[in-house]
């Protein structure tokens, strides 16, 4: 395993240096250094029939030294490549935020990042052109991955050696913390029937407290808002490697549908990694606009921004299905949204005793 890791590090490093060599050759041929990237906008993602996920389309944009801006970007790219190559050589890792601060130490002021957004975007650019994931550059996000709870035993390679952990028996109430690079995890054995991804921490805690994972052999994954890559990746691996159905349980508002969208179809920002991160077979549990009507849930009115978001989802290729069109139009019609916790208006156990079993049964999961 360790040697495998070394090989992947070496490959990542080579790819980075190849990229630098490409710029070098462009200079040498009297050409203007440039790199070409797919255009990362909603209008340039398309459904890939083979993998059932959304990937970038054919439109590209070029980062070129032709302008002062472009030249600065490429200068920063060169510095970042050097930094990443050295990091791999030394087998160290750093966070995206650290990269931003590290740039401050570079001798050349022109190469300093002006904000973290810039350094994050550059890492994404490098991911795309080098076809190496940032995890393989040893770059990790600041926020930790989410937590698992359920009848699953895994082995994780840590800096301090391999650890075998059972995600129900060996962990506390909080569950097992997913590492930043979930590809370092090996699944050992499990009794999991399905994977239940939950948006809010409150609802996750409710399910755990009510023993939902135990009762239904569910692996509860806490998404914690827009899910981190690691969370999406482990979900994908659980589905692909263990052949488990995946369901997503969120609030009933447009932003939560996007959370589902990024789990199931991939996000616009990381569409180049959709095949690696997205789980197209994932199903949406709720809260559905239909549930608001059926269960007469306590609601908030839709704000203008909610309405805009819903309307933009109607035009989002990821949501162009009969199911979503119907639900979104219903929501625009009733003009209301509801949180997961709204189910508590019918009692604390309502969600585990009534709502989820009914929905999961409908969906053919249990």
């Amino acid at each position: 395993m360790a040697s495998e890791r070394k090989i992947s590090d070496e490959r990542a490093r080579e790819r980075l240096i190849d990229l630098a060599a490409e710029f070098y050759d462009q200079f040498d041929a009297g050409e203007i250094p440039h790199m070409t990237l797919p255009t990362r906008t909603k209008s340039n993602i398309k459904y890939d029939e083979d993998s059932n996920v959304w990937v970038y389309g054919d439109r590209t944009s070029t980062r070129s030294a032709n302008s002062v801006r472009g030249a600065r970007k490429l200068l920063k790219a060169s510095y970042t490549i050097e930094f990443l190559a050295r990091q791999l050589e030394e087998d160290r890792s750093s966070t995206l935020r650290e990269l931003y601060y590290i740039s401050e130490s570079w001798d050349n002021e022109e190469a300093h990042f002006s904000d973290q957004d810039e350094s994050n975007k550059l890492i994404e650019d490098l991911e795309i052109v080098s076809e190496v994931k940032r995890e393989d550059f040893h770059m990790r996000p600041e926020e930790s991955g989410a937590k698992l709870m359920g009848p699953l035993k895994i082995r994780e390679q840590t800096n301090r050696g391999d650890r075998e952990i059972h995600c129900q028996l060996d962990v506390g109430q909080g569950g097992y913390q997913i590492p930043n690079n979930p590809d370092t995890i090996e699944f050992l054995e499990h009794d999991v029937e399905f994977v239940m991804c939950v948006e809010t921490g409150g609802m996750r805690d409710r399910l755990v407290e009510n023993g939902f994972d135990d009762d239904y052999n569910a692996l509860v994954v806490h998404l914690g808002g827009q899910p981190a890559r690691a969370t999406r990746r482990i979900t994908k691996r659980l589905h692909d490697e263990l052949d488990l159905p995946v369901v997503v349980f969120t609030d009933g508002d447009p932003w939560s549908y996007r959370i589902f969208g990024s789990v199931a179809y991939g996000s616009i920002k990381s569409a180049h990694l959709s095949e690696y991160l997205a789980t197209p077979e994932a199903k949406f549990v709720g809260i559905q606009p239909q549930d608001i009507v059926d269960y007469d849930l306590p609601t908030d009115p839709l704000a203008d921004s909610d309405i805009n978001a819903l309307q933009s989802e109607l035009e989002d290729p990821r949501f162009m299905s009969d199911y979503w069109t119907e639900q979104i139009e219903l929501q625009l019609d009733i003009g209301k949204k509801a949180e997961q916790q709204a189910l508590a208006s019918r009692g604390l156990d309502f969600v585990t005793d009534e709502y989820l079993p009914t929905r999961l049964d409908e969906m053919g999961i249990i």
Partner: protein, 798 residues
């Protein structure tokens, strides 16, 4: 006054008493009291004005004699006064003329001439003399030497203000080192508070007179201010032109009429005015007739159906002639008359005369004067039977459909009545008469039909009626008669003004020309950019004029505050009353932001390091006052000033935008010139390869022309790559310390004291590369110089 009134009857001698206090005022006396009108309102200003008048005269005199002006101005303190000396190298003034030129107001050669000149009224220099004598009591000292004469004449003179005549105090011959020229020395009460205006005046004079050499000395200057000649080219000699018919006033016209030797108005017009030939003269005559005699109304003729009735009328009127002859006469006459659409009384008279002649001859009958008159008298009422219907058609034609028919009928009836009752049998009326008829008709219609015909409606009807009236063919009055009658002269003047006449010729003007405007600016202002424009001649009030504008920008010009505006009229700088001048008004109204200059609020004087000069040349410059400081707001001149400024400003705009884009380019080049090598260094570190050559990339990014030299074993290769999108032809000079060999004729080699200049001028199209190779001894050194390409667009790597 009341007390006089009460005693008027008692003292019949009061008018005589008052008359004792009344006497003629001499012009000199008048100006003594009104110095400000001539620019002598203060000591500071008086000095500037005196210099100005003397320098203007000097320039006029030298130019007229075809001499390149060399003018010396000196101001020195002399006790309580200032002494002013102005010397020129002009043709000099004859002994007889000197006292009059300097000692008599309103004496000059210019006043009656229609030609561009600096001075016009002959007031300027004598006013300076007058001012000096009034303030210091000292006479003017004038030295003048005409070309070829042994000695110079020296005068000391004052003006007798009662008589406006010179009073010579001293007169003698003297020697003078100048071969010809004039020198005037004046002492006056003055001060140097207007030093800036004085300097401006001299500087600006130098700008618009690049052919002149001017030197100024004054107590505040350590070194004399010297302005050298920038050109040997003297201004074009102007020709005097006769007045243009559009440019004379009634008084002038009357004077010209009484002075002319012509007998007929036609001869007078063609002799005394410019641009009047036989054809134009005829046009003026017609317009004159319309005014003087009025036109005759034409009426619709009855149709052919009434020919028999009309013939009967004619036959009745012709008494005692043979029956056949009478019938032939009547048929012929009526045939012609009904064949016409409309007919005027005068026309009928002519037709009757003609028919009487021809038919008389054919039938061997005499239709004499009496018969003719009788026929006209009988036939005219028959022809004009339906005046009302005729006028109704006209009124109906030009009146809006909203008006009541009853109103229109009333208008038509009233107008027809006016013709019938007031114009006599010939229905003659002037345009004014017609307007009165219509106004009267409108009053009556308002009264009777309660329908209002407003001014526009009345005007339309009057125009329609007038257009159907016919110019008479009466002989116009002779010159003598016109000269004797103001009203007739007024009619002639109106006719002249109304007639379209070709613009006056422009050889009476001498513009500086765009080239010399630029040369003048270059000479006195150290700027980065110069532009100038000269407009074609235009006319205002019969006087031709030409407007020129020039702009200097950047360089050493002061960049804070407003731009400098230099105003000139007939090459004379205007240094006072900038705010009152039409040039200033025009400049302030232009949106300078469009031309790349800062203009707070989008109007007013723009800011920035610029000098704007505007020159108006005309045979008659319209000043706001006699002190000639500011041009009056004449729309025709304003338009041309604006167009001239805009023309020059457009060049400024393209210069500034080009400069800005070059600045941006330089900035980009600076940044990229820093970033890209750093990137290249980093890349070579990462890849472990030597540093790449980035000049090609840099040249390509900047759309540049790159010049590179490679030397290998004494083989020199110069490579020029053109990355721009235009064709370039750089002038490349490679200075080599050893003799180059193997040049294939594309380049030339010049040997200069052991250095060889390899000159190469390749045409390199966009995207192409040109190379030059030659061989030299191993240890040769090189020095390359590339011209013909803007530095910002050039990357030299040798």
């Amino acid at each position: 006054m009341t007390s006089f009134q009460s005693t008027l009857g008692d003292e019949p001698g009061i008018a005589e008493e008052l008359a004792k206090g009344q006497r003629e005022i001499s012009i000199a006396e008048f100006f003594e009291k009104n110095k400000h009108m001539l620019g002598f309102d203060s000591g500071a200003r008086g000095l500037v004005t005196a210099v100005k008048e003397a320098v203007d005269n000097a320039l006029d005199a030298t130019e007229e004699a075809g001499i390149q002006p060399d003018i010396y101005v000196e101001i020195a303190e002399a006790g309580d006064y200032y002494r002013l000396v102005i010397e020129d190298n002009g043709p000099g003034i004859t002994k007889e003329q000197v006292p009059k030129v300097f000692g008599k107001l309103l004496y000059g050669s210019r006043f009656h001439a229609r030609e561009q000149s600096r001075g016009q009224q002959g007031i300027g220099i004598s006013a300076a003399v007058l001012y000096s004598q009034l303030t210091s009591g000292k006479p003017a000292k004038v030295t003048s030497r005409t070309q070829g004469s042994e000695d110079a004449e020296y005068f000391e003179l004052v003006i007798n203000t009662d008589q406006n005549e010179p009073e010579i105090r001293t007169e003698k011959t003297t020697s003078w080192d100048r071969p010809h020229g004039t020198r005037i020395e004046l002492e006056m009460e003055a001060n140097m508070r207007a030093r800036q205006q004085l300097h401006d005046y001299i500087l600006h004079t130098a700008v618009v007179n690049p052919h002149a050499r001017i030197e100024l000395r004054e107590p505040g200057l350590d070194e004399p201010m010297k302005f050298e000649r920038a050109t040997d080219q003297l201004p074009k000699q102007t020709k005097e032109i006769r007045p243009h018919p559009h440019g004379v006033e009634l008084g002038t016209l009357l004077k010209m009429l009484s002075a002319t030797e012509s007998y007929s108005v036609s001869g007078f017009l063609q002799e005394e005015f410019t641009r009047v030939g036989a054809k134009t003269s005829d046009k003026i005559h017609d317009a004159f007739r319309d005014r003087h005699f009025g036109r005759e109304m034409t009426w619709r003729t009855p149709g052919a159906t009434e020919a028999d009735d009309l013939a009967a009328v004619v036959e009745d009127a012709v008494a005692n002639k043979g029956k056949e002859a009478t019938a032939a006469f009547a048929d012929e006459l009526v045939d012609i008359v009904v064949g016409k659409d409309r007919i005027a009384h005068g026309e009928l008279v002519t037709i009757v005369e003609n028919v009487a002649e021809t038919v008389g001859e054919e039938t061997d009958t005499s239709f004499g004067e009496t018969v003719r008159e009788n026929v006209v008298e009988a036939l005219w009422p028959a022809l004009t039977d339906d005046r009302e219907g005729d006028v109704y058609a006209i009124v109906d034609d030009v009146t809006t459909t909203q008006k009541d028919d009853a109103g229109k009928l009333s208008m038509a009836r009233s107008i027809a009545t006016q013709f019938a009752e007031t114009t006599g049998p010939a229905d003659r009326a002037t345009r004014d008469d017609v307007a009165e008829f219509v106004a009267w008709a409108a009053d009556r219609t308002k009264e009777r039909e309660d329908e209002t015909y407003g001014e526009t409606a009345q005007e339309n009807i009057a125009d329609a009626v007038w257009s159907r009236m016919r110019t008479v063919s009466d002989e116009v009055p002779k010159v003598r008669e016109v000269a004797d009658d103001r009203d007739v002269a007024r009619d002639l003047l109106d006719a002249m003004r109304e007639t379209d006449i070709l613009a006056p010729p422009t050889d009476c003007l001498s513009p500086i020309s765009a080239d010399l405007v630029e040369a003048g600016l270059k000479k006195e202002f150290d700027a980065d950019f110069y532009a100038a424009a000269t407009r074609d001649a235009e006319v205002h009030g019969g006087d031709p004029f030409i407007v020129e504008a020039g702009i200097a920008y950047g360089g050493e010009l002061k960049s804070e505050g407003k731009i400098d505006l230099l105003r000139f009229a007939n090459r004379v700088p205007l240094v006072y009353q900038q705010g009152a001048c039409t040039i200033t008004h025009v400049v302030k109204d232009i949106g300078w932001r469009n031309y790349g200059l800062d203009q707070p609020g989008g109007s007013g004087m723009p800011n920035g390091p610029a000098v704007l000069m505007v020159h108006v040349a005309s045979t008659n410059v319209p000043f706001t006052s006699e002190s000639k400081d500011a041009l009056a707001d004449v729309p025709a001149i304003q338009d041309e000033v604006e167009l001239a400024i805009r023309e020059a400003a457009r060049e400024l705009k393209s210069y500034l935008s080009k400069r800005r884009s070059l600045q941006k380019r330089r900035k980009k080049q600076d940044v990229l010139g820093r970033i890209l090598p750093q990137m290249a260094t980093k890349l070579s570190e990462v890849t472990g390869r030597p540093e790449p050559n980035i000049d090609g990339a840099l040249g390509r990014i900047m759309n540049n022309l790159t010049v590179e030299r490679a030397v290998e074993d004494g083989e020199v290769t110069l490579t020029v790559k053109n990355y721009s999108n235009t064709n370039e032809s750089p002038d490349i000079t490679d200075i080599v310390s050893a003799e180059p060999a193997g040049l294939d004729g594309e380049a030339t080699v010049v040997d200069l004291d052991g250095e060889w200049f390899v000159k190469w001028n390749p045409e390199v199209s966009s995207g192409e590369t040109a190379t030059l190779t030659y061989s030299v001894a191993q240890d040769a050194s090189f020095d390359i110089n590339v011209d013909g390409v803007e530095t910002e667009k050039l990357t030299v790597n040798v």
